[in-house]
């Protein structure tokens, strides 16, 4: 046997495995259950659900503060991977049914504002201020990035405003699609299929 001989390596591993006892399955199961219980108590709970929409599959998630994520036209795994990585996820359609009901009314043209608590606490103060201003733009209107920046008292911050809007975790409900470029082009949109979805939403609201 030489030290680089793969057979020798395997033989050593085999001797070590047989000499050093492995824990019993019951001990493993007990510990796994304990860690699982701790995680269930420690980690914040995010409940989520899905519905079909004119913009493709739509996903919404709520935590104890309110709606914390919404997206559409993406794969389920992409939506879930975008949620707080330390949270415990639970698929629970009942927990988001009030969100889905208001969104259905919106898509049917019967609602222009949402009455939902939202949680954007994970964003920076500037991002939160941008979204706060944006949430007051009424359906059927569009503002420019520059106008939002002016409203914030930072008229030269059109670009940071655009970046802050891209971080909106709850598009449609906070209507970042109502903010466009000063030259009349749509600018950008991070929700769903991007600009196509933005155009669709603005048409639905009669802004285009």
């Amino acid at each position: 046997m030489t030290k680089h001989d793969p057979k020798d390596q395997l033989a050593i591993a085999k001797h070590l495995r047989s000499a050093l006892s492995a824990p019993a399955d019951t001990a493993l199961a007990h510990s796994r259950a304990r860690v699982g219980k701790w995680f269930a108590e420690e980690a914040p709970l995010i409940q989520w659900g899905e519905m079909s929409s004119p913009l493709g599959p739509l996903f919404a998630a709520v935590n104890r503060r309110g709606l914390c994520a919404l997206d559409f036209g993406r794969r389920e795994s992409d939506f879930l991977n975008g949620l707080d990585p330390r949270a415990r996820l639970e698929k629970n359609p009942k927990a988001v049914q009030h969100v889905m009901a208001q969104l259905r009314e919106y898509f049917a043209g019967g609602r222009s504002t949402f009455n939902l608590p939202v949680d954007i606490s994970q964003l920076t103060p500037f991002q939160r201020r941008v979204l706060e201003v944006t949430s007051h733009i009424v359906a059927g209107q569009v503002w420019t990035y520059h106008r939002v920046a002016e409203r914030l008292g930072r008229p030269h911050s059109s670009r940071p405003v655009g970046q802050a809007l891209a971080s909106n975790p709850v598009p449609i409900v906070i209507p970042c699609h109502r903010v466009i470029a000063s030259n009349g082009s749509l600018g950008g949109y991070s929700g769903g299929s991007g600009l196509k979805a933005k155009r669709w939403l603005l048409r639905l609201e009669g802004a285009l």
Binding site: L20, R32, L89
Partner: protein
Amino acid sequence: MAPRFEPLIEQHHDEIFAYLWRLLGKERRRDGAMDVEDLVQEVFLRAYESFAGLRPNSNHRAWLYKIATNCAYTKLRQMKSRRDGLLSLETSAAGLGAANGYSPVRKNLAQRVRALVNGLPSRQKVCVTLRYLEDLDYPEIAQILGCSQESVRANVYQAIRRLRLILEEE
């Protein structure tokens, strides 16, 4: 895409438990407070607390092993300092027979391998356990222990050299 914490429990709990079980060896039975389950809980607690600062492309398995190794070192150090006072009494009571390394009844191969691994310096024991029982590669072990690959290889070599002596006696 950022990995999630929750699946890490399902994916790595059992191997982390087995790793700590082996690492602590006979120590786990010596002290009622020295419970592998407590240590595993502590590993995941520490991991959870530092998870937000972890880069998305990190090697999460190696990262968990690193935390587990640090937890085990801390626990073993605590136990050693608690035990040192008692040990002097135990060794004198054990008599001269044990002092020369031979027990009256010759142990079987598995018992001798187990005794050898349990008696290895802690760094050698960790290296050989991670390499041969947990199937981690040298770069991963170096990352876990915060040392060079050469150092890991040297520690594995020393441990295996001792092990070969036992195997060649057979």
